[in-house]
């Protein structure tokens, strides 16, 4: 590392502080305004109250949307955990024809714009599956989210497997354990924190996703971000929007924080 002079350190510190403030001040403003008693958000806040939080809890539409978001995130995370881990195991432990291509195809959805994934899935659901009598419904939304959630689990688990000593599995084999016992007692314990970290990221990613949701949510089904989008234009809902936004921020942030801690604990070991 370079040794930085005192002035450089101060200057860099100031720049960093300014950038972080610019990034987070608007979010903090939204969170603070959710406690603003006024009908129209204004600054500075004149009186605080939990009025809008109470209104939000009483709103059936918001509660429904919250429930949809949680279910979608849990479903997408469950799919991601299973498929992401299996894919990571296959690509990390075996070599087969087209391995690199498969690797790329798994990671690609994270780079694809949500609108592309969304439109593509929407077309498939409406123009291919429905004509042959398959109505994906709510499951279509979950699958849409799973496409990018898989990447989170896959990346985390694959990186961990790459650092695991392959002799551990051989040792287990050597001592009489077959494939399944070895997976259950040696391989999985070896990557379970990466598994959990990937799952938490997947949950957070799904919970605040909107673009894919727009195109894959069945009619009448709203996730929390969708509810926000649909109520943006209504001026009297603005304070409620602040409440919902605050909920989304917190529910997305906590898993990301936990996931970071999980990954750090292991690397410190």
């Amino acid at each position: 590392m370079f040794h930085l002079s005192r002035t450089t350190k101060w200057a860099l510190g100031l720049v960093a502080a300014a950038i972080l403030t610019l990034m987070y001040a608007p979010l903090l403003l939204v969170m603070a305004n959710s406690f603003n008693d006024a009908q129209i958000s204004s600054w500075p806040i004149e009186s605080f109250s939990l009025r809008w939080w109470e209104r939000a809890i009483e709103s059936q539409a918001i509660l429904d949307a919250l429930w949809v978001s949680v279910l979608t995130a849990l479903g997408a995370t469950a799919i991601a955990l299973v498929l992401g881990s299996l894919a990571a195991l296959a690509l990390q432990r075996y070599s087969f024809f087209g391995k690199n291509a498969v690797n790329l195809l798994i990671i690609l959805p994270i780079a694809l714009p949500g609108i592309v994934t969304g439109v593509a899935l929407n077309n498939t659901y409406k123009n291919i599956l429905e004509p042959i009598g398959i109505h994906v419904g709510f499951f279509g939304l979950i699958v849409g989210h799973a496409t990018f959630c898989v990447v989170m689990v896959f990346n985390n688990v694959q990186a961990r497997l790459g650092r695991m000593n392959p002799r551990l599995e051989e040792a287990s084999n050597d001592m009489g354990a077959g494939l399944w016992t070895t997976f259950r007692r040696v391989t999985f314990p070896g990557f379970r924190t990466a598994f959990a970290a990937g799952g938490l990221l997947a949950f957070a990613l799904s919970f605040d996703e909107i673009v894919v949701s727009i195109f894959t949510a069945p009619p009448g089904v709203e996730t929390l971000p969708l509810w926000m989008l649909n109520n943006m234009a209504r001026p009297n809902q603005q304070s409620l929007l602040n409440v919902v936004a605050t909920v989304i921020i917190i529910v997305s942030m906590v898993p990301v924080y936990l996931s970071q801690r999980l990954s750090r604990d292991v690397s410190a070991n």
Partner: protein
């Protein structure tokens, strides 16, 4: 060489080995990795209760051979028999063989006791019995007070002993050890060599040890196989392999050796054949005091003092040097000890000049 007699242990070589019969038989075993031939048409028999070493430089095929016996690799051709049963196509967990890995491969998330008890628990040995066996195994390697520790809380030597206990607790007929002492520092390694040998004698299990360390192989083994480019150059008891190397590779790999080409041997000793002589068999004297059978005069080119011994490098012909080692006990620092530049006589008994039978295995 490669006559079948040197590959199969004679009763005399196997000696007072407990049990009888063969633990391992390899028949024409080859292993190819793509274009690379790791093991080439190998035949070998290892007797029950033997401590057998596979010695060779890295890439000589010894580790591949060990992994073939363990079942982690399948041979490209040939058969592997354990205790007379063909296991060529059996999975590692179906073979009565256990392995001590080079990096020990201890399960990092399990305690010492759980590591050692793993194989027993996989085989559904009842808990009480399992505890007893784990305790016995840990006592044998003197780690009974470390049962609750995690591998990360142990020293290298302790980890090595856990790995040993973990494999031994299953009482395999064959224990494979892949460079088991390679990661330890020298002092600990020498101590563990003796300890391993004692444990092997106590449990009576066939040990097959892979090593690139010739001292380790010579010190510990009942028999040594010297690997070179996927083939075995020589098999035999340490003394035989050391004293009567079958090829110049074996002579050069096992300790220091003066290898003298046939034309030079004819010139120096009047014997036109490939000769090998160990430096400790050569004496360097100022004047020919005893009537030795053979003496060559030369100039001391270098004197290398290494504690227990001093090595003299003597130029006997332009460009041709011989190495001679004199134990320090004989008084290397003595006034009469030859110095660099001295004209000396290099002498030995005629019987110590060993003709290498062949240069190609």
């Amino acid at each position: 060489m490669r006559s079948p007699t040197t590959l199969t242990p004679s009763p005399a070589e196997v000696g007072a080995v407990p049990g009888s019969g063969l633990a391992i038989s390899l028949r024409g075993v080859s292993k190819h990795f793509g274009e690379t031939v790791a093991v080439r048409d190998l035949d070998l028999d290892i007797a029950r209760g033997e401590l057998f070493s596979m010695l060779g430089p890295s890439g000589s095929g010894k580790t591949t051979m060990l992994r073939l016996i363990a079942g982690f690799e399948r041979p490209t051709s040939g058969r592997i028999l354990l205790g007379g049963t063909d296991v060529t196509h059996k999975a590692p967990f179906d073979r009565d063989v256990n392995t001590v890995f080079q990096d020990y491969a201890l399960f990092p998330h399990m305690s010492v006791a759980d590591n050692v008890g793993y194989g027993l628990s996989v085989r559904r040995v009842p808990r009480v019995e399992r505890r007893r066996l784990v305790r016995e195994a840990l006592e044998r390697v003197r780690l009974e007070q470390f049962t609750a520790r995690l591998p990360s809380q142990l020293s290298g030597g302790q980890r090595q002993r856990v790995a040993l206990a973990r494999a031994l607790v299953l009482r395999p007929t064959v224990l494979l050890l892949d460079e088991p002492l390679g990661a330890l520092d020298r002092k600990l390694r020498e101590q563990m060599q003796i300890e391993l040998k004692e444990i092997q004698r106590a449990v009576g299990i066939t040990f097959v040890l892979v090593t690139h360390d010739q001292d380790e192989a010579l010190t510990m083994s009942d028999r040594v196989a010297v690997f070179h480019e996927g083939q075995i150059e020589q098999v035999g008891p340490p003394a035989e392999v050391y004293e009567r190397p079958a090829t110049s590779f074996v002579a050069g790999f096992l300790g220091a050796a003066n290898i003298i080409e046939a034309d030079q041997a004819a010139d120096l000793f009047g014997r036109p054949e490939l000769l090998s002589i160990r430096p400790e068999k050569l004496r360097v004297v100022q004047e020919r005091d005893v009537v030795d059978a053979i003496a060559v005069s030369g100039v001391v080119a270098e004197v290398v003092y290494s504690g227990p011994a001093t090595t003299y490098i003597v130029e006997v012909r332009p460009g041709l040097t011989l190495m001679a080692t004199r134990p320090s006990a004989e008084g290397a620092a003595h006034v009469s000890a030859p110095q660099r530049g001295d004209v000396v006589q290099v002498t030995c008994a005629a019987a110590d000049l060993y003709p290498i039978p062949s240069n190609t295995p």
